[in-house]
Subunit: 244 residues, 2 copies
Amino acid sequence: MATEEEQFLQDYAPREYPSVALTVDLVVFAVKASTLHAAFVRRGGHPFKGALALPGGFVGPDEDALTAAWRELQEETGLELGAHRAHVEQLATYSSPGRDPRMRVVSVAHLALLATDGSALPALNPGTDTEAAQWMPVYEVLANETLAFDHRGILTAALDRLAGKIEYTLTAARLLPEEFTLYQLRRVYQAVWNTDKLDAGNFTRKMTGALRDTGRKVLRDKGAPAALFTVRDEYLSPPMMRPV
Amino acid sequence: MATEEEQFLQDYAPREYPSVALTVDLVVFAVKASTLHAAFVRRGGHPFKGALALPGGFVGPDEDALTAAWRELQEETGLELGAHRAHVEQLATYSSPGRDPRMRVVSVAHLALLATDGSALPALNPGTDTEAAQWMPVYEVLANETLAFDHRGILTAALDRLAGKIEYTLTAARLLPEEFTLYQLRRVYQAVWNTDKLDAGNFTRKMTGALRDTGRKVLRDKGAPAALFTVRDEYLSPPMMRPV
DNA sequence: AAAATAGTGTCTCTGAGACATTATGTG
DNA sequence: CACATAATGTCTCAGAGACACTATTTT
């Protein structure tokens, strides 16, 4: 049996099959000043010269798409894994034959969330020789900028996914440090949903069930001190509702 | 400007880049007798000889993954598009380097839903030369069968997606004819969730808001006649809740 | 009439939103 | 004390589930 299988693998003659170049595209989100930002690259060459594009790169022969996405994220931010907390998940795959006029490129888009305290964005690598990635406000980009390839569709898909997911999970906490106040969390929701209509009191009550109070408090410029929370482990990525 | 771009496209020398074979895998669901079924192929050759596998095939050079999924679905069922109503959507992409021991194959998994009246499954093509696809009960397969490659993961991902999606959309109606009774719809929910605990009365009240009563009724063996409904257009794929 | 099924009524509980109120800090 | 913010209380409303009840068919 083992021999039959070995035989097969040896006999197997690589057939004619269509082959494609496989890449990952990243939508990297982070929040500053209650505004949702994403990392973009300004294209210096054709096609789509001068337009904004999402960072990305080829998937190596010995890695899967998720590994490649983490590697690209690290190359772009220079983050030591674990220094910045990060969350990466697959979004969707874009395979339209004409999406890159130069050749057949199939791209697995990923959603990446970087933690910030809401006051500053993570540093981006100044870029080797190629153009460096830069943070830009997502809603302004969507309103005013031209995006290369099918990257507008990828960006809106990522935004929809994030906006939907924080409705029923605590994924929003992945955009914050390990410990955070309800004020910070609320600002993340406002950033993602591009709104300022979130009642602070109701928000507190709604969230505290899935959070753990560290007992410590932190002060702001004015007002009462705010409690520091962490996400209760059982609510980290899975649903906040439907507690199994 | 046009010249500069043309110049670039001409000058563009195809670089060295890793290339992969791109395929689609299909999880095709249909319901019979309140039991969720999926289409499988029994493997006749190595690797995974004798195990069950999902149907699928290569993505052609001039089609995207979704088009290839529709083509494979048609080849497998012999359905004239529109004769059987069908729903196909992208699920996720599987790109682990070792997932096929023969070569580097990246597969875009798709979820397909076929309409039945709940009493019989759509015919599957008897297969050209290769093994024909066959319907099998999903929960029994997951409990008792060995699945080839990473197809167990794909199948459970498809099932999770479907089970979750029918909670807040009317996607379940894609497993039924254009017009259906609440009894049929309830049986679909029971099939997908593998349960029989759905109160008929509450189910009716919950669903009727998103349905349109055709005014016609249909009889069963016993009991009162049941009204025929269709899905109100505005609720077809998008959410039943959150009415914008 | 008896049985089975379709559909409605009723009650309770829970969660969300609107909004007021109390508590705790700073200048 | 004035002010700002955190957190809680209160009220209302809508939706879901448990369960009883009525209506409509077949045998």
